[in-house]
Every structure is written in C-alpha cells, then in structure tokens.
Symmetry: C2
Subunit: 210 residues, 2 copies
DNA sequence: GTCTATAAGCAGATAGAC
DNA sequence: GTCTATCTGCTTATAGAC
C-alpha cells in the first residue's frame, strides 16, 4: 500500500472519529510515522486530501445511484437502494458534519459538491417519477410534488448522519442508519401503494435483525 | 451599550457572515477596537461567547413555540409559526452550519442543545397532534406517524439554512426562507384538509409578495 | 472596566539533503 | 519517494498596570 493511500485511509479514519476540523496534516503524518514533508510530497495541501476523499465518496455514490435506477423498481431494490445510500454516507460521515466549513475554505470542493448535489436531486426526483410510472405510488399532490419530494428526500439524507452524531449517542450503530432509511421512507409513505410499502418494510425489518 | 453586548452583537454578525469557525477572539476584539484583555474580562473564553449567542437563540425560539401552540391552530397562525421559526433560524444561522464542530468542542453547549432539541421535537409532534384534533388534518398513516412527522419537520428545519448556504447562491433572501417553509409544509400536505392547506398557502403567498 | 504586552502552542507549509 | 529541520502566522488565553 502506497503512502498516498495510507494518508487517505488514515485521514478518513481520523476525520470520521474526531470531526472534519480536528485532524491536521501534522498529526496525520505523525500518526502514520512519516514526515510532514513526505505528506506534502503526495498532497499539495490539506484541502487536496479532503478532495481526494470526496472523490471517493462521489464515485461510490454515483455508482450506487446509477446501478439502481433501472425500471421497474421493486420494493426490495427500493429499500436496498436507500439502505446502501446511508451506508455510503456513514463511510464518509465526517463530510456531513463539516460540510459548510469545508466548502467555504475550498472553492474547488464547493464546485464539485454542487455538481454532485444537482445531479443527485435530479436522480432522486427521477426515482419518485419512476415509482409513479410503475404504479407503485400515487402522484404527489403538491404543485411541484416530484421536485419537492426529491428535495425533502435529499435534505433528510444529508442531515440524518449529522442528527445522529449531534444527538449524543455514545455509539452509533448500523440500526441507526436503518432508522434513517425509515425516516426517508416515511416521506413517500402517504403516496405509496400499500403492498409495495409492506414489502419494502419487510426488507428493512430483515436488515434490522440481520 | 455595554462592551459585553457589543461583543455579542459583533460576534453574531461575524460568525454569520464568515462561518462559525472563522472569527476568533483576536479579530472580534480588534474589530470592536477593544483589547483582547477586555474581551476576556467579559467572557472566560471563546466558547462562552458562543453559549451566550445560543442562549439568545434558545430564548427567542422557545418564546415563539410557546406563543403559538394554543389550540385551535388556524391556517394563518400555522403558516406564521413556521415562517417565524425560519426567521429565528436565519438570525442565528452560523449555528446551523457549524453545529457539529461547536458541540464537539463544548460539552456544556452540547447539553444545552440536546435539551432544546428534545423539547422542540416534543412540541413539533404536539403541533401535528393538535392539527389532527382540530380536524385540520388526517391521522398520519405510519406506525409512529406523529413522531416521524415531527422529526422530519425538525430535520428539514435544521437543514434548510445550511442547504441554502451550501448551495452557493450569491445572496440569500427572505424568499429563500419562505421556500423553506414551503418545503416543511409539503411534509404535512398529504394529510392536510384541503381548505386548511389552501388558506395556509395563501398566507405564504402573501408573504412572498410582501 | 479597560488597557498593554506577551506567553505558549499548534496549524499549514517549505527548503533542501539523501 | 522520503527524510530532517524549520519558518511563518495564527490562535487562545493570561499577567499585571491604570
């Protein structure tokens, strides 16, 4: 494993454990047992490390979204899709707590983030549209129903991890992530076909036990 | 105006403009034209300033919540209540972007925040229950319907300001806040009485123009 | 209550040897 | 590709005069 990868690996761990602002280049290098100079050979500055981690998040997130949008959307795929989205979020959780600060200090990262967000919002809306097309869901009532539902989905997704961390539980578990899925799920429940809903819930319940 | 109040005032402005981590005690003192020593006479440390600002946020937020929960809830009061909640959030917006970091570094603040959050979740759930009691809304379908709706309301509220700031608009306006209200509102729409909904929307539309 | 002066520490980053 | 050594600039916070 190259030092470059070791730096990314450890950075992700430290940032996740201690927060996006906690670990500096000095400590990262120290903990790895390499010199600051070595670290700065691989990364021009601290921001480049964070951008590297964001690139990994983005790749996993995009792959997951694309893989699962193909119609028709079965209850199991639907539940699995939401579930995996939370697993990706959890893997890179430092990002969600420190987002505002990170984007403020790094214009390049801000642009990359906004790109991803715009794309994700479109995709989330597309999923809702597809569910309606599949007959698994009634058309939302509000004027901008599709858009609004997609956006609320995104807002819950973005905030769930932060909410759990902020709420001060000693240990965050996989079940907390599944609860998050349920929270997102509840946004659509009023519109979902009863059978579709039941089937999706069963998948989630199985995950909770497993 | 006492120097203590001037410190709180300026801190709020700087933190809002530049982010919760940007302005340090040195710059606050400098900008006010007072000495660091003077600042540290009034506040034991930087965290005490932030806690002072949080106390102000909490006071305004609690006052607003208590004032508006009394039954029955009219559409105008309902819309006005959501609207004012966003105005309070906007006034102390630095808090929402930097929350994770702030709470991590200050255990006292974390406890105060969690108290407020627990209380707010109860109140938000109570509002939903009251709407159902008033006949303005159908009973939510999901098993923990009341709780889930209250929680989603909170998650949208907590995240809207951050979402707007992160999304990179050059200037954030009052209309953006009203859009946030609409986003929160849409959570309840599937269950709301049609007349109640229309009336509440009219109030919001009027605010948008005004 | 307000000031000057400054300690102590840590951050990000670089130069240049090997 | 990795090292040692170090610079610069910032921060929080304090001691003690007025």
């Amino acid at each position: 494993m190259s030092n470059r990868d070791r730096i990314l690996d450890l950075s992700l761990r430290l940032l996740n454990e201690e927060g996006a602002q906690a670990a500096g280049t000095t400590r990262i290098a120290q903990t790895l047992g390499i010199s600051p100079g070595n670290l700065y050979y691989h990364f021009k500055n601290r921001e480049e490390i964070v951008r590297g981690l964001f690139a990994a998040l983005e790749a996993e997130f995009r792959a997951m979204m694309i893989e699962d949008v193909a119609p028709p959307i079965s209850p199991a795929r639907f539940a699995g899709f939401y579930l995996r989205s939370f697993e990706v979020a959890w893997k890179y959780r430092f990002f969600f707590g420190g987002l505002h600060h990170l984007l403020r200090k790094d214009e390049k990262l801000a642009l990359a983030y906004r790109d991803l967000q715009a794309w994700a919002l479109d995709e989330l809306e597309a999923i809702v549209r597809q569910l309606v097309k599949d007959g698994s869901m009634a058309k939302p009532k509000t004027r901008n129903g599709f858009h609004s539902l997609g956006l609320n989905t995104w807002l819950i997704w973005m905030n769930w991890i932060r909410f759990v961390q902020i709420s001060g539980k000693d240990e965050v578990t996989r079940d907390d992530m599944i609860e998050g899925v349920g929270q997102m799920f509840d946004l659509l429940v009023p519109y979902l076909d009863a059978d579709f809903e039941k089937a999706a819930r069963r998948v989630l319940a199985r995950e909770l036990r497993g």
